[in-house]
Amino acid sequence: MRTDAATAAFEVIGLTFKGANRAPAERLPELTTLLDGGQLSVPPITAFPLAETDAAIREMAGGHVRGKLVIAVR
């Protein structure tokens, strides 16, 4: 359902993906300053082990995640 809706939305608004569409990463140091300065706080983390990544992806697909899902690799 979500998949179909997402595909339809991309087509309706005419988005074309020519590779991953991401904000430029050169502003990472700006984020660092905001985080270390306390102007930006990180939401509560829900950690999943690498072997349970499927479960984390399913929860993300369900929407309305309260904190942030993170794979704790090691």
Partner: protein, 215 residues
């Protein structure tokens, strides 16, 4: 030497741990020993194949964009990093598949920065993609101290950061959220919360802010 990665072999199927060779960093790249990797809204779309008509995907497909970890090897032409540096960032691969849900990931050095000292690896891994997107949103919206800004999805991934950044600029944030996010919005700095499912959002905003975005 092999390493472990979470990967799917076909769209829409369950993934599993794959033993794969440790990847080599090419020119301009770093090999990261990943400690934590944030899950983003794009990851379920990559795995489901939603975007397969729009971009190349490579299998076995390892999803994941965000990471925090330790620099392990340094490609040619990369300066400013040393083996052992604690870093965070966002993978810049133009195709999904060589992602960060793995013990090792190769990423372009342009997407890597020193890890914030105040954060652990899991917290740092939660930030890059949504944080960078939020910075771009704030730059485009340019909220001023005398303005009201309505943030749709204010307690979702990008919205959490947009709400905080707009508040830090002195703007009044009207958080448009799901009912489940209503309690969180004030903690992020929002002064007003509108349940997106409760009715006409535009009418609710006009009723509360008859002067529009000017406070």
């Amino acid at each position: 030497m092999s390493t472990r990665a979470f990967a799917i072999d076909e769209f829409g199927t369950a993934g599993s741990i794959h033993e794969v060779p440790i990847p080599e960093p090419a020119d301009g790249e770093l090999l990261i020993a990943v400690r934590a990797a944030g899950v983003n809204a794009m990851d379920p779309l990559y795995v489901a194949g939603t975007l397969q008509d729009y971009m190349e995907h490579r299998f076995p497909l390892v999803p994941g964009i965000d990471f925090a970890g330790v620099v392990e090897r340094i490609g040619e032409g990369v300066h400013g990093f040393a083996s052992g540096d604690e870093v965070y960032g966002v993978s810049d691969k133009p195709f999904p598949g060589a992602g960060t849900f793995a013990e090792h990931a190769v990423v372009g050095a342009d997407g890597v920065a020193p890890k914030p000292a105040s954060l652990d690896f899991a917290q740092a891994a939660a930030v890059p993609h949504v944080g960078l997107t939020a910075l771009a949103v704030i730059e485009a919206a340019d909220p001023k101290p005398d303005q009201v800004i309505a943030v749709i999805g204010a307690t979702e991934g990008v919205g959490k950061f947009v709400t905080q950044l707009a508040t830090a600029r002195g703007a009044t944030v009207a958080a448009i959220t799901a009912e489940t996010g209503a309690a969180l919005a004030p903690e992020l700095g929002a002064t007003d919360t509108i349940d997106y499912a409760a009715g006409d959002i535009g009418a609710a905003l006009r009723a509360r802010y008859p002067q529009g975005s000017t406070r």
